[in-house]
Every structure is written in C-alpha cells, then in structure tokens.
C-alpha cells in the first residue's frame, strides 16, 4: 500500500494543477469557441447556429478598425522596439563603465503597470499642457502635436508608449544574446583583422537568430494582449479610433452585453496568438527533447 502510494504521489500532486489547466484553460477555450458559434447576446445560448457571430464581426467597421490598429500597432511596436533594443544592446556592449546604471534605467518601464505607463504618457501627450505646450513655450507658437486626440494619429501614441515600455526589455534580451556569443570566435575574427562593425554584422548578429525569434514572439504576444495600455492612454478613443481586438472584446463583453461578439472576437485573438506561438513552442520543445 505504501509502495503504491509512493509510486503515485507525483501524479496525485500534479493532478490538481493539471485538472485546473485542463478546465480553466482548455475547457474555457472550448466554451468560448462553442459560444462563438451560437446567437448568444446578453445571456449565453448553447444552440449552435453556425458562423453568424463571425459574419457580424467581420462586417463591423469597429472590428475592422481594431484589426487595422492591431496591424499598425503590432508592426510598428515590434519593429521599433527591436531596432531600438538592438542598438541599445550593441552600444551597451562596448564595455561602458556605467553599464549597470544605464541598463537599470532602460529597463525600469517593464516593471510598471501599463495603466501607469498609459497615465504618464497621457499627461505628456496632452495637447494643452504636455509636449505641445512645452515646445510652444520655447517660442515655436505654431507647433502642433495633438496625436492623442486626433483619430488618425492616436494609434501612434499607443506605439510611442508601448515602445517606451518594452524596448528596454528587448535590449536586455539582446544584450544577453551578445554576451553569450562564443568569445573565441570573436577573438579569432579580431586576429584575422576583421573590423568591429563586420564582426557584429557577419558573426554576432546572425548567431543571435534565436533571440530575434523569441523577442519577436514576446513582442507580438504583448501587442495582441495590449489592453491596459489603450484603456489608460486613449480609452479606445477618440471614438473608437484606437480600439484593438482586446478592447473590442472587452467592450462587447462588459459594456454592450454582446457575449456572442465577445466570444468570436476572443477566438480570433486566440487564433492569431496560436498561429504565432504554436510553431515556436513546438520547435522549442522539440529542440529540448533531442
């Protein structure tokens, strides 16, 4: 009996967590998926009626804006954060004496809540009192920087705040990558008389391909999940100019009481994440099992 117990203790200890994940992740995904194929509105209905919700979703101009915004925000956020992160990492890699302090400064936004970040940038970008008024105060009276309240440009303010928050983190990832390159290879290249810039472009950066991939995954994942930042910075406005799928889903679920739309938009988000993360996880797990 005690032998039996001993043999099965690991399974029994893992079981609650596994059951929780099974139910609260996979079961819930299934539930949301199911609801997305019903005509649920304020209350869930369980009779499947087909793709009505998805049809409604894709003819909704608001969802169209949200997807467009996700594309603009996602692309700019990822590209700028990566470029900035890489530049900072390479500069910091030059044996800078104050590296520790600088690194701490570049990375601290990552410790903040996106609500805090949003609040701060909302203030800085405030057309009446923020940067606009600062520059005007310097004498450039015609200077205008009203992106925050301009429906066409408001989404770029989200990019500004997002990049500010996440680029330091990308820098930390790249710096770790730069430091993990085999020193002997670099020494060999130096002995061969290859200039530093070539060492970076031809040897170090190509060897960091996995880091590029994981930063991309993390940033893409952050972009899709971005909800707090938009809520705090623009509240989705002006109008719904800065809606993202995440805020659309929330609005449908809790303000509009349209569970069907909330479920179908959540499922689309899920599929986008799925398309990005699954191949990555699959290759990671496979590489580890080899």
């Amino acid at each position: 009996m005690s032998d039996w117990l001993e043999r099965h203790v690991p399974k029994m200890v893992l079981a609650p967590s596994f059951a929780a994940i099974l139910l609260f992740v996979y079961g819930f995904i299934a539930w949301t998926g199911w609801i997305s194929f019903t005509k649920s509105r304020l209350l869930p209905k369980y009779e499947i009626i087909g793709t009505l919700q998805y049809e409604r979703l894709f003819i909704s101009p608001r969802w169209d804006t949200a997807l467009n915004n996700l594309f603009i925000f996602g692309a700019l956020f990822i590209i700028i954060s990566m470029i900035l992160g890489l530049i900072l990492a390479i500069m910091l890699d030059q044996k800078i004496r104050t590296e520790g302090v600088l690194r701490t400064i570049y990375l601290y936004p990552m410790a903040l809540s996106m609500i805090v970040t949003g609040t701060a940038w909302k203030w800085i970008l405030n057309p009446g009192l923020g940067i606009e008024s600062v520059v005007r105060g310097w004498g450039y009276e015609s200077f205008s920087f009203d992106w925050l309240v301009n429906p066409e440009y408001a989404i770029y303010t989200v990019v500004i705040a997002g990049v500010w928050q996440a680029s330091g983190f990308v820098m930390a990832l790249f710096l770790a990558g730069l430091r993990s390159v085999d020193e002997e290879i670099i020494k060999a290249a130096q002995v061969d008389g290859i200039p530093t810039s070539r060492i970076y472009s031809a040897i170090i950066i190509p060897s960091m391909a996995p880091i590029f991939l994981s930063s991309f995954i993390v940033l893409a994942h952050l972009a899709i999940k971005s909800f707090d930042l938009v809520i705090a910075l623009t509240g989705g406005g002006p109008g719904y100019a800065t809606d993202l799928p995440a805020t659309y889903m929330y609005t449908m679920a809790f303000s509009r009481g349209d569970i069907g739309q909330a479920a179908s938009s959540a499922m689309v988000m899920m599929l986008v994440v799925f398309a990005i993360v699954v191949p990555y996880l699959y290759s990671e797990l496979r590489a580890k099992n080899d």
Partner: protein, 299 residues
C-alpha cells in the same frame, strides 16, 4: 620600453583621438536614451509635487517652484474613483490582499509541478508540461467570459478570493515553467542517491530541492508579484466596487469625469500604484530580469 607601452604606436595617434571622440559620442547617445526613458518618470514626479495652478501656468518639464505634497495626500486618501472618494488607500490594500496569497500559492504549486516534471517523470508528463506551457500564452480574453460565470457559480464573483483564484490558476504555467527549467539542471543522480538513502517524494523535495531553490523562488515571486500587481484585465473584469485592485482604481481616478481634472493627483496616484513593483525592481533587478528572460527564452 616604457615609452612603447605608454604610447603604443605613434603613427596611430590620430586614430586614437578619433577613438576617444567616438567613445564620448557613444556615451552621449546612451545618456540621451537614458533621458528618454527617465523623462516620463521625471514628469510624473515633478507634476505630482506641483500645485494645480502651477501646472496650468508652468511648463511640463520645469521643476516645481513650490513643492507640495497635497496631491499625494489626495491620491492616497481623498481622490474619487467614481462616486467614492477614499483615494487609492483601500485599493492598495486590496492589491496586497490579492497578490500575497496568489503569489504564495502559485509559487508553491509551481515548485511542486516543476519538481515532478523535472524529476518524477511519468507517462504523459511531457504532454502535461506542454499543455501548461501553452496556457502561458493564451490571450486571457478567451477565458474571461466563462470565468466570470464560474466565479459566479462558486460564489466568488466580485470577491478578493475570486481574484486570488484566477491569478493562481493563470500563473501556474509560468511558475511551473520557471521551476521546471531550474530543476532540470539539478542532476537526477541526486534524486537516485536520496531514494537509495530511503527518502521519499516529499522528503527529497524538502531536504534537497528546497534548500537549493532560493534563487528561483526569488525570481518566481518577483515575476508573479509584478504580474499580479500590474494586472488590469482580470481586476477590471472580476471585481466590484469594494474589491478593485489598485490598477483599476488608478484608471478610475484618472478617468473620473467629475470636477476639475487634477493632473497632480493623477500623477501621484500613478506613482503610488507603481511604487511596489518599482521598489522590487530597484532592490532585486537581477532577479527581475532573470524572470523576464526566463519567461521568454525557454531552455
């Protein structure tokens, strides 16, 4: 000979000069970036110390002419979130009440799970791990609707306990991952030796693994604390008037439309909401970064 050392190569003197100039340029660039990252924090702090009058008349980037902590007082105990005007104080404690048990429980489960997946493999353990790992990446929007209903059924709707429950469940993936990755680097022979010595599952964990786990416990606790403290989506979805976490309250203060817009109070409130995680970051930055990178680069 000494001359040779102090002045390596006279021919390259000009090269050396450009090198020094380049280094200064590099340092300057790095400092400009540092200013860019610090600017919002600076603006937040200075604004929070100004009076409303000074904000309206002065410049965003100017230092306060007259330092006043009134805004901080209001933010802590008087600012209005909707109809209530108790400041952030009650919500700060809400966040503590949510974060402390949730961090403890998710770390504990993560440690046990990681220990099992790393060293007590059974058939299907790898699949379970993959499934938990994937759970880290789902957009939480996809579980919000059913979770709201389940919390209701469990009688936890709008309660602190409900939020603790949610944070423990959706923290499991990461905490398990952290401990699993840490424990796989502990040699399996240690477990075998302890088994031969007569120790069982819990004894081996308690006597051998736990004493080795301090670094990963710190990483996990910091990660979970930051995640839970900074959470907004679960907070705004599953709380009600009295149980909101600080992020939700902050957002309500900032977006409350009643009365005059008090930017200094907003900024003070934002700093108060950010202080605990900032504090953790400054005190234990090394572990903070390790958690961030462990959460993104697996293996």
């Amino acid at each position: 000979m000494t001359d040779f050392i102090s002045n390596p190569d006279a021919k390259h003197k000009s090269g050396k000069a450009t090198k020094i100039a380049l280094r200064w340029f590099l340092l300057l660039l790095l400092l400009i970036f540092a200013l860019y990252y610090l600017m919002p924090l600076f603006v937040m702090v200075t604004t929070s110390l100004k009076s409303l009058e000074e904000i309206r008349t002065g410049s965003l980037v100017a230092l306060p002419r007259e330092v006043t902590f009134d805004a901080w007082k209001t933010a802590w105990s008087g600012a209005c979130t909707g109809i209530q005007c108790q400041g952030l104080q009650p919500y700060f404690w809400n966040s503590i009440l949510i974060a402390v048990p949730a961090v403890f429980l998710s770390t504990l489960f993560g440690a046990m799970n990681g220990y099992i997946i790393a060293h007590w493999k059974f058939k299907g353990a790898n699949l379970i791990f993959s499934m938990m790992l994937f759970g880290c990446f789902i957009p939480f929007q996809v579980v919000i609707l059913p979770m709201a209903r389940v919390l209701g059924m469990m009688g936890l709707a709008g309660s602190i306990q409900g939020l603790i429950f949610v944070h423990v469940i959706y923290g499991l993936g990461f905490t398990t991952l952290f401990f699993r990755n840490y424990y796989v680097s502990i040699p399996g022979e240690l477990v075998k030796a302890a088994k031969v010595d007569g120790a069982g599952f819990f004894r081996i964990f308690w006597s051998i693994f736990l004493p080795l786990s301090l670094p990963i416990i710190v990483v996990t606790v910091i990660w979970q604390f930051t995640q839970i403290w900074n959470d907004f989506l679960f907070g705004v979805s599953f709380s009600q008037a009295g149980t909101q976490p600080i992020t939700v309250a902050l957002n309500n203060i900032v977006n409350s439309t009643t009365g005059v817009k008090e930017y200094n109070v907003d900024m003070a409130a934002a700093i108060i909401a950010a202080l605990p995680t900032l504090f953790v970051y400054v005190v234990a930055g090394k572990y903070f970064i390790r958690g961030l990178t462990a959460g993104s680069v697996k293996g």
